[in-house]
Symmetry: C2
Subunit: 317 residues, 2 copies
């Protein structure tokens, strides 16, 4: 049980305590769960923004510039940067994240990188948990940044109230985005590095693809913005579009529904993870390992062994 | 319970029965499990080859040419072509797979496309199940082809004895492959369309990346082959490399270990899926849905609700 003063320190945004708390939720221990249960009544005030897109699109730059924009309005900003890693090597692919020192030193900004190591399912759970800590610590906006490879951007979209997909003008990016499922998660698009050739074509290609989708008058239609984040161009417009989407969700009672949906996925994940942990304890793993040879030799099907394992689990559950 | 004559027809490779059996395992019903339990003692003779890579690399062409190559040796070939679909729209991305009629009409070839619809975890389970059917029906080699987006190629690598990663010479493909985790799953690479400019550079880039990895004398070092599959160039060499890898696995007792590992993952998946099904029945879903509002309003944490759901599950399990 975390002591009261520890929890109070989170609520007072004591930076060392917040940092330690995120480490606790990352470790995914019993302490993590106890901590999250203690702080929950303070969670729900922060607005969560997902920023995703292919490598090199400029997500970090946009995140940094947005942060400075919001800081000028005196909003407190939490940043969670998720680095998906290969499920095989566990190595981080994005390299070092060098954050600009001007925002890193700001007391109103909290930056945290998270690696995914192994299960991608675990990523969204931990990113959600970390966002809860920052939420309870009183950050107004939480920017969750992830590179759009594999599953991670879909997880981030589940965790965010508004999802921004960042692309670059290079031809084919729009098509790749469509293939990667980014079209379905984007609340709006930003074509960054729009000083490069092809920016207008990229916008047109996106528009064409978006128009092909089902759409009705009452639903949200994703806009396509342009920016040159390195020169701070287009940042105010991004912030404005985030606000417009937030207001759309609120007016249509969709924010609650969206958060309920997120909560549903999250609870399912927690329940399943807990059951998996019970299932694959020493007994479960031993009975699994001792059965493999029989299956490979064709003596029993995997389904026979699965039945046995479930029966054993029932008896010890 | 499938009747004996149905199962016998699978073993005799009655094509309609094999096709129906794969539909049964795709449907993921109770009948699927019963069928797989009945045929299992005939499973384990086929060698399973995974073929993956980015869209447009020429995987289908290589699969078709390899099939013709093996048919000339009188080997019977099963082909499972996996189309990953967006988890949001459920739409197939690869478009129609038009198989060359010369192999499609061949009695010694069985071709089946599978879409993934929704859960990617489900894909590897169903592809494994379908491969078991073809295995029991006496196909000597099973070619499992999937496009390398997201998780599907990792699932296919788990299901295969030998995994071939197909790339094209275009610059950056090697780097993309590394990012997508394809480096770790490749037993060897094929740079296809090697008549295009840049083929030798692509081979060099791959070599450089492979050399950076951990490697010791006793382990398998992935080779890099080139092909122009549309002109049937390099196909015999691909078949030769598959054979060389098969012999390496056999000589080093690694084939059994690899298959045991695959079986382990598979049993875990079956067990977890069965438990998920029990968990999210009507009672589980109702208790989940009725709790969402409490969580969103900050009255209870997702962890509190998860505990409640697990407690209920325990009582009815």
């Amino acid at each position: 049980m975390p002591d009261k003063s520890f929890v109070e320190k989170i609520f007072n945004n004591d930076r060392r305590t917040v940092a330690r708390s995120i480490s606790i939720v990352e470790s995914d221990s019993k302490a993590s769960e106890e901590l999250l249960k203690e702080i929950y009544f303070k969670v729900g005030n922060a607005y969560r923004i997902g920023i995703t897109g292919p490598p090199g699109a400029g997500k970090s730059t946009i995140t940094n510039q947005l942060t400075k924009f919001y800081r000028a309005q005196n909003k407190r900003i939490g940043i969670i940067a998720v680095d998906p890693t290969s499920p095989f090597t566990g190595g981080a692919l994005l390299g070092d994240r060098v954050r600009m020192s001007d925002i890193g030193q700001d007391e109103g900004v909290f930056i945290r990188s998270m690696a995914t190591r192994g299960s991608l399912g675990g990523l969204s759970k931990k990113a959600n948990d970390a966002a809860d800590i920052l939420d309870a610590a009183g950050y107004d906006l939480i920017l969750m940044e992830t590179v759009g490879v594999g599953q991670s951007e879909l997880d981030i979209a589940e965790a965010a109230d508004t999802t921004v997909v960042v692309l670059v003008p290079e031809s084919g990016d729009a098509v790749q985005a469509m293939k990667a499922g980014l079209m379905e998660i984007a609340d709006f698009f930003v074509v960054n590095k729009s000083d490069r050739p092809g920016a207008q074509q990229a916008v047109s290609a996106l528009k064409t693809i978006l128009m092909m989708r089902d759409h009705n008058a009452s639903s949200w239609m994703p806009n396509i913005l342009t920016s040159t984040a390195s020169e701070n161009k287009g940042i105010a417009e991004i912030a404005e579009e985030i606000k417009r989407h937030f207001e759309f969700l609120k007016e249509n009672n969709k924010l609650i529904l969206k958060r309920e949906h997120r909560t549903k996925i999250r609870i399912k994940e927690i329940v399943e993870q807990k059951i998996r942990k019970k299932l694959w304890n020493e007994i479960g793993n031993n009975s699994l390992n001792s059965s493999l040879e029989k299956v490979v030799l064709g003596n029993l099907s995997p389904y026979h062994i699965a039945d046995e394992i479930i029966e054993n689990f029932k008896n010890q559950f």
